[in-house]
């Protein structure tokens, strides 16, 4: 569904590439987490899939479309095939929840009848039927993200890309959003989520791709967990985690988390997200 072949991206003026020779293949109906600390290249990778940026080298194929051949005039049409969810929701502030979702269908040229038929169903799916007439400013963070998800899935895209969808949300709401994404995945949509949220990644047991300094350092196909290497707050010797092929088990990670919690001072007793 998504194929990156030796993709490198160097921004003008930068010496270091934002992405360095990245190759990956995401199968249809996959649910994939893309993790890594800030500056690892997650957003660049997403931007290249949404054709906001072009790779300096390498090839990207999404849903059978080689992005090299997607001209400027094709971009809007191409993007309509993708669902995209952002950390800051990017809702139209002067439109209601209903109108925000309807907008995605309007730009695709759907008839008013089709829109009136589709929007309530999508709002029901994301659990916002009773908020349809509210404006984004009247919604909680979770509701805003649900609206954004409703907008992105209204056109029934084959691929949904979520860039840090839980970054601005509390843990409970975050897990609700991930549940929703899982539900959408169950309907057959391929999902690619970038996140910092270790709990979510570790609890879901899906494929996890870890980026560091623009390169893939780990790709755990099943039951993936958020590897701790590269995390600034890590309390452990990260060198063993960097060893090729090293993958932590679920048991390992929970014991590591426990050790980490107990090692912390009382005043920094915040939850490890």
């Amino acid at each position: 569904m998504i194929l990156l072949d030796s993709v490198t991206k160097v921004y003008p003026g930068d010496k270091k590439p934002a992405l360095d020779n990245v190759s990956l293949h995401i199968e249809p109906n996959d649910f994939v987490f893309l993790v890594g600390k800030s500056g690892a290249g997650k957003s660049t990778l997403i931007k290249m899939i949404t054709k906001e940026e072009n790779p300096s080298f390498g090839k990207i194929v999404v849903g059978g479309i080689d992005l090299d051949y997607v001209k400027r005039r094709h971009i809007p049409h191409y993007r309509r095939r993708l669902g995209v969810v952002f950390q800051d929701f990017k809702l139209l502030p002067r439109r209601t929840v209903y109108e925000n979702v309807a907008f995605a269908l309007e730009i695709a040229g759907m008839s008013g009848r089709e829109i009136r038929h589709t929007v309530p169903k999508v709002l029901e799916l994301v659990g916002l039927s009773d908020q349809a007439n509210k404006f984004p400013a009247q919604l909680s963070g979770g509701q805003k993200q649900r609206t954004a998800i409703a907008r992105s899935v209204a056109r029934q895209p084959k691929i949904l890309i979520a860039d840090e969808p839980t970054a601005n949300l509390d843990p409970a709401t975050s897990s609700e959003i991930i549940d929703l994404l899982k539900k959408i995945n169950d309907f057959g949509t391929t999902i690619l989520v970038t996140t910092h949220n270790r709990n979510i990644v570790n609890n879901l047991g899906k494929r996890v791709i870890t980026l560091k300094d623009g390169a893939i350092v780990s790709d755990q196909k099943e039951n993936g967990i958020y590897r701790l290497d590269g995390e600034s707050e890590t309390l452990y010797d990260s060198s063993i985690l960097k060893a090729p092929g090293f993958e932590l088990t679920r048991a390992d990670i929970s014991s590591l988390e426990k050790a980490k919690k107990s090692a912390k001072k009382p005043k920094s007793k915040k939850k490890v997200i």
Binding site: E52, I65, R94
Partner: protein, 342 residues
Amino acid sequence: MSDSAQKKITKKHLKTLTKNGRTKKLRNASRVVKYGTINFGRNIWLSTAATLVMTLTLIVLSVTLVATVVLSETADAMRDRIDITLFFKPGTGLEVLNEAKDAALALENVKSAEVRTSEEEYENFLKENADNSLLIETLEDPDMDMRSTMISTMQGTLRLKVHDPDNLDSIKTLVASNILFVKNLDPNEEPTYDVNRNEIATITRWARIAKTGGLILSVVFLVISVLVIFNTIRMAIFSRREEIYMMKLVGADRAFIRGPFLVEAQLSGVVSGLLSFGLFYGGFRFLEPRLSRYGINVATISDILDSNRIIYIVLAMVLAGMLIGTLSARLAVHKYMRNTAK
């Protein structure tokens, strides 16, 4: 997969994706109009400012146009009224007068010529004084025989209308050198060469000033209104750049994003077209009797406003407004939309 196979598949996909039926296009166009109209209402203060400046421009444009037409028509009408009248001795026969007329018509500058014998001049005199019953009664009193006395003293005339009243040399030369004129013209009365010449010159000068001054003023206002609308749209794009970016990311095409801005500016154009026509019409109707009293010829414009042709004036003003709106919005959108996102 080989490169060429991938290219083939991609092209096939893109072809399906970009397929846009007529219904879809119409639907999109109607949505663009809808959003443009909504935006016009939402940004009512900016829309009002843009509309007012545009109205001012259209009024200056129309006043310039009308002033030019009215003043040059007034000058033409006055020129038309000019008679260069040559006075022949009383009793000069029609034959002589006709000969003189032919000689005058041979000149390039002479547009038309009319002769009146002494009898005709007398009849004309009666007609002109028809409301003076005492005079008419006295003149026509058979006992007093004033008629023949009058005719014997009245000069026959040759009245000439010319193309260019500023260049009468050829006529003067004819009058001074042609034996027919030298012999038969009344030496006691000089031909009238200079009647109204100064007034005509003044009106012509005003017409010229109205034309060039108005044109300059129109251009200035045109530039101002384009700048105001340009900035209005630029501000709107700037304040909505996040929104525009978001629209692009969810797949709105350029026409869908730019369209409402154009519609907004065109709506300003339509409103200002109608508004400026209303103001122009009211102003003209108010000034019309006053201008006529000063001998300014407002008939042509008045006729247009009284006939069905008024609709063309309205349309022209609305179209001019839309044109100004479209031009400035296109400039702003072209310049600033590109920077919001790919």
